[in-house]
Each structure stands twice: as structure tokens, then as C-alpha cells.
């Protein structure tokens, strides 16, 4: 599960922010996870519990999914990403590197592969709150 590596990335980043902001303790972190990558939120949460320590010992991590939407650059059609329409190998490839979607997914309206991820491509840290 490379979810572990993503959880580590969150820990590294929040730890740095805690230093920079001179937090004694980080109380809450809001993380958004784009559905394109089909990250298993339960695994991320579990990994975070295992990895958190020091100033992050008591941090509450709120992990929320963001629906993945794609937009065709040719015809401007917008659609939802649906994992179930893909075969397993392709879904796995997109799980690792979402951009390879450009090899496998086409605009349902015009067939072009020149689309952008409007939202829900990747994971990001929305906010970090702590006690000084």
C-alpha cells in the first residue's frame, strides 16, 4: 500500500509547519483526498495513527474525499471520474500516477484525451491548527 508513503508525506509536512508556526502541539489537520487516486482513506487514517508522534501525538486528522471531475479542453464537457468503468489494471495505474489517465480515459462527449482535472486529482492539506 503506497498509502503509507502518502501518510508519511502528511506527517513530514505538518511537522514542518508545526516548527515554523512554533506550535507546542498540533490539534487538528484537515486533509482532502481527491478520488481520482482511489486512495484508501481507512489505510491513510491508520497509517497516520501509527506515524504520529511528538507535537503530533494528539492531533486529530480529518480526512475527507473530494469527488474527481474532469473537463475536456476541446469540447468543455465536464464529467465525473468513475473507477468502476475501468479495468483493474488501469485503475491501479491511475492509483499510482493519476496523470496516466491520459492514456486510458477519453472525453465521453468528443473522444479527446486533452482534459484537465478540475478537482479531486490529489491529496492536499487544507488547514493545520495548533496551540502555541
Amino acid at each position: 500500500m503506497h498509502e503509507w508513503a502518502l501518510a508519511e508525506a502528511i506527517i513530514y509536512t505538518v511537522t514542518e509547519i508545526a516548527e515554523r508556526e512554533q506550535f507546542k502541539e498540533v490539534s487538528r489537520v484537515n486533509v482532502k483526498v481527491g478520488e481520482l487516486q482511489q486512495v484508501d482513506l481507512e489505510i491513510i487514517k491508520f497509517a497516520l495513527t501509527q506515524l504520529k508522534r511528538g507535537k503530533l501525538k494528539n492531533t486529530e486528522f480529518r480526512i475527507e474525499p473530494v469527488r474527481a471531475r474532469l473537463k475536456c479542453r476541446i469540447c468543455e464537457y465536464v464529467w465525473d471520474f468513475n473507477k468502476n468503468e475501468l479495468d483493474e489494471e488501469v485503475a491501479e495505474a491511475i492509483h499510482f500516477v493519476p496523470e496516466v489517465a491520459h492514456s486510458f480515459i477519453k472525453c465521453p462527449n468528443c473522444g479527446a484525451q486533452d482534459f484537465e482535472f478540475v478537482e479531486g486529482r490529489r491529496m492536499y492539506i487544507e488547514s493545520v491548527s495548533g496551540v502555541r
Partner: protein
């Protein structure tokens, strides 16, 4: 909207001693052949070597080395599969050799993604096969791999050398180390870039002749290492003590 992957890259590369980008600006000068065979040579010398193909829209190193049927293991991240002792990463694991057209922003995002999750562990050398152009790939390698050093490949053509001069300029502006310039596909008729290099601030590392036997050896690393190409590249490697 903080991207947690950026900070992870630092950690993932912390045990990598040297990162070497084989670049040019120009396409078709031999970057992929040089990267592939450089990785073989360094690995044969006993170094721990990683090879990463950054030419996402036309990956070549797996074809040169004959790498097939590998897929990274997923274990607290992804572990690059090993091919003849070289840790090898390429977008072909994921794009399955299908056409992949990527805008620059998409290149950046996949580059960051792969770096953030790949566990190279200890490496003496991580060799990067760069795509042509002076674009997102060049800029991102510089942005996210601050210790990168460049080997620049050119052919003895004004078209190639004029681009190489620009790349050298760009790298100098950014204070990025240039190991030097290799002149590839030399033939008798052509004039020498080595002499012209005086005017730009980069070391001339040596030349590799046009080798009509090279392509026949693609896919067979034993044969690749016996080519004139490899022998000349090895001489260069021995001299520069990277």
C-alpha cells in the same frame, strides 16, 4: 492548499548521494543511450545505481536495456524493481506503453507523485534520463532536486550545439553544477564541439563516435557493454570520477 508531496521528496532522496541528469535541450542526441549505459557501467563498478526515465511521452531506456515484465512492489510506498542490480523507474510501468500525451503541468504532477512515493533507499548514483527541450522537466528537476548535477550531451551539429549553449546558460544562471559535455555521434566529416566549448562555461568530457553496431545490441546488456559506444563512455566515466 499545501501539497504534502513536496516535503516527502526531500526524505525520499535523502540517502541518494549523487543525482545526475543526462540532458541536452536537443532531442535525438543520445541522452537515453548515454543514461542507460552510464547506469550499467556504474553498476558494474560496484556502485548502487538507480535509473529514472523522465521522458514520459517517449520513454526509451527500457527498450535500450531490454526491460520487460517488471512492476514496482507496493510496500509503504513503491519499491523500484531491480534490473541487473539497477533500481529502475519508468512511466511505462503505469502507462503500459500506451500513448501518453502530457501537458507540462501533468508532467510536473506525475514527476512529483512518483518522487514522493518511490523509496530508492541508499544509492550512490541516481541517473535521470531527461526529455528534450528546456521545459517543465528541466525546471522541476532543478526545483525539487537541488543537488542535481548535469551531464550534457550534444552532437557535432550547430543545431544541437546552439541549444546546448542555451541550456548551459540556464544552468549557470541557476548555479547548478554541470559535470561537463559529451560529444556524441562523432564522424570524420564533422567539426569539433570541443574547441567551441571554450566560449561557454562547461568542461568538455570527451567524444563518442557514431557506432553502427549500437542499435543491434539494444535489449542485450552484455552486448551493449562490448560496443565501441560503451568502451568510449567508460573511458569518459573513468576520467571524470563523478
Amino acid at each position: 492548499m499545501l501539497d504534502p508531496r513536496i516535503k516527502a521528496i526531500e526524505h525520499r532522496l535523502s540517502q541518494v548521494k549523487n543525482i545526475i541528469a543526462v540532458s541536452s535541450g536537443k532531442g535525438g542526441v543520445g541522452k537515453s543511450v548515454v543514461s542507460s549505459i552510464l547506469a550499467l557501467i556504474l553498476s558494474k563498478k560496484g556502485y548502487k545505481v538507480g535509473l529514472m526515465d523522465l521522458d514520459f511521452t517517449s520513454p526509451s531506456t527500457h527498450l535500450i536495456l531490454g526491460i520487460k515484465g517488471l512492476f514496482p512492489e507496493e510496500k509503504e510506498g513503491i519499491i523500484p524493481p531491480t534490473f541487473e542490480d539497477i533500481k529502475f523507474m519508468s512511466i511505462v510501468y503505469f502507462s503500459k506503453d500506451k500513448a501518453l500525451s502530457l501537458r507540462g503541468q501533468d508532467f510536473s504532477d506525475s514527476f512529483i507523485e512518483i518522487l514522493a512515493i518511490t523509496k530508492w533507499n541508499k544509492l550512490d548514483y541516481l541517473i535521470l534520463d531527461m526529455p528534450p527541450g528546456i521545459n517543465d522537466a528541466t525546471l522541476d528537476v532543478i526545483r525539487y532536486m537541488r543537488k542535481v548535477k548535469f551531464i550534457i550531451v550534444t552532437t557535432p551539429s550547430i543545431l544541437s550545439f546552439s541549444t546546448v549553449k542555451k541550456l548551459i546558460d540556464t544552468l549557470n544562471t541557476l548555479k547548478i553544477e554541470i559535470i561537463g559535455v559529451i560529444e556524441n555521434m562523432k564522424s570524420d566529416q564533422t567539426y569539433s564541439i570541443g574547441e567551441e566549448l571554450g566560449e561557454v562555461k562547461a568542461k568538455f568530457l570527451g567524444e563518442i563516435p557514431f557506432d553502427p553496431e549500437l542499435e543491434k545490441c539494444f535489449g542485450n546488456t552484455k552486448m551493449l557493454l562490448t560496443t565501441k559506444f560503451s568502451r568510449e563512455l567508460e573511458k569518459i566515466v573513468n576520467e571524470i570520477r563523478m
